[in-house]
Symmetry: C2
């Protein structure tokens, strides 16, 4: 049974995981959908009530029925590097490749549907609330009056994008910023705005979840930190990331979140307040983990390799995402 | 409890359904996401572990918690008609609108994730096979040799796109065509090609499924039909569509297909062969039904209105699509 990794050629993080898979003798096929229909070929036959499918990449042929897991890392646009690329060819190649893989019994990290759903921040906030994770008071609105009333109730606010990264090429992260006390909210009418109560933080927490394994790291706020630097991605380098235990109730809530979200991998961002409470900010289903592994020495790549190496579900279930991620529950 | 319809302004099919909902006194809000942030506004607040959200359109305000169902008919691109449209604004508006709606307990026709998955033809074929619907022998390949071998086994073939409609503006349907016996398959290497055994058909069947209600119509092949005209969408107008009973085993398989696909609505295309067998061609989760209703008098719009008018699930379940479509099972 083979592990299929969908990613670009230059992906050092995937390299780290492949090293572990190779060391344990698990067959791996790695390909970039952008190389359809050049270096990557596919074929699937539906005859007499059954399906037989194959992928070929770098001269290796793998049976779709023989996949134990699929890691959707950083795949390129299907057929994006074809001799004559076009929107039509991309659509055909995407439907053919993912349409066949979706019919397989392999486990996914992460399933494309679960990944897509998990990117919706309003949905994340609701799910976190329902699973008992503390969520800072948040408003998403196009009503200037609603924004003004919210700012009266919660005078210390940050603003951030609803959708994450700006869709330019390459995508640009939009930093979270503090809202000035006398802010004019009339521009809210021109685009949905996410306002959130600022948590006076003692530390940032990154919790990396791989199946049911939780690896958390903590980065204490620098004692002389500028309170306006709310976004850890853009803050001056301070204290290092260090491994930290996950409080049992948080662990339980995080596992319930992942189960409902049908995710096998998630990078959770929390902030820790003065009382030690971890406040949920977001869960990035494709969040980077290399920097945490390097600073903390936590074996994230090895844990991912172990998850990918588990046997396929072998279920005849087809549609339910659940079936894919049984190792999560 | 309100029915929310997401569609464009000029949608006669939606009008038909709204007439029935109005007649039965069910509140309806209809809006086009393209009108964010002009005629359509939204606001959602996450405070103290709960969510309160609202949509406003045409001067009407509706609570997201008060939605019984969402009909995703033909929604425009979010914020597509904003004063200053941009990819960024569309992404923000899409995440805000669908992110909030995804967290609601409303039933969906169809849920965006289920709809997206259901568009994959290779996945459709596999699911139809698994649920016991006869599927004509099919090959999807980029290997010319595989295509040649398939054509030797099944000399009477049709070719059709993997993905459905050509993504130009407006989208163009690519007709299904017969493959000439001496076809050269070398171009298969440049793009995935779908080859399917041609069924010598006695009739086309359109089965419209609304929840667990199945409404089938049959259009007998014209006795002087040209065998090369395999695509009913492009054939000369022949005999009319007429209501037909669904064979019990087909009904059972179709209901299992919809349950696995987590679809509340699906338009199935079959062809009936000389033995009376219905061969599965595809299930279009957004297929038109107006022409069938007009020719057969089958009450499809009313059946959709009745499904939309059912109470919300009321479950606290968040992630599982299942919960949305409980009326299907």
């Amino acid at each position: 049974m083979t592990v299929l990794i969908l990613t670009s050629e230059e992906d050092v993080t995937a390299d780290m995981v492949v090293v572990h898979l190779n060391a344990s003798g698990v067959p791996v096929v790695r390909l970039d959908p952008a190389d359809l229909t050049g270096g990557v070929s596919l074929s699937g036959e539906y005859v007499h009530g059954s399906f037989r499918g194959h992928l070929s990449a770098g001269g290796r042929l793998v049976s779709i029925g023989g996949l134990r897991s699929v890691w959707v890392r950083r795949p390129g646009t299907p057929a994006g590097r074809a001799a004559q690329p076009s929107a039509w060819l991309t659509e055909e190649a995407s439907q053919a490749l993912y349409g066949m893989l979706r019919g397989s019994d392999a486990r996914w990290m992460n399933h494309p549907d679960a990944a897509r759903r998990a990117r919706h921040k309003p949905w994340q906030l609701r799910l976190a609330q329902r699973r008992g994770l503390p969520v800072p008071a948040t408003l998403i609105t196009t009503f200037p009056r609603a924004a003004r009333e919210f700012a009266e109730r919660y005078p210390d606010l940050v603003v951030k994008p609803v959708s994450g990264a700006h869709p330019q090429d390459p995508p640009r992260a939009v930093p979270t910023s503090r809202v000035a006390p006398d802010a004019d909210f009339s521009a809210v009418a021109f685009g949905p705005t996410l306002l959130q109560r600022r948590i006076a933080k003692r530390a940032d927490i990154r919790l990396t979840a791989v199946g049911d394994r939780l690896l958390a790291a903590r980065k204490a706020a620098s004692p002389d930190a500028d309170a306006d630097e709310v976004d850890v991605r853009f803050a001056a380098p301070g204290l290092p990331w260090q491994p930290v235990d996950v409080p049992p109730r948080t662990a339980e809530a995080v596992r319930a979140y992942l189960r409902d979200a049908e995710l096998a991998y998630g990078a959770f961002d929390f902030v820790e307040d003065a009382d030690g409470t971890w406040w949920f900010l977001e869960c990035n289903q494709s969040g980077q983990f290399g920097f945490v592994e390097v600073e903390t020495g936590q074996p994230i790549a090895r844990t991912i390799a172990e998850w990918l190496a588990l046997p396929a579900t072998g279920e005849e279930g087809t549609a339910h995402l659940n079936g894919r991620n049984s190792a999560v529950s």
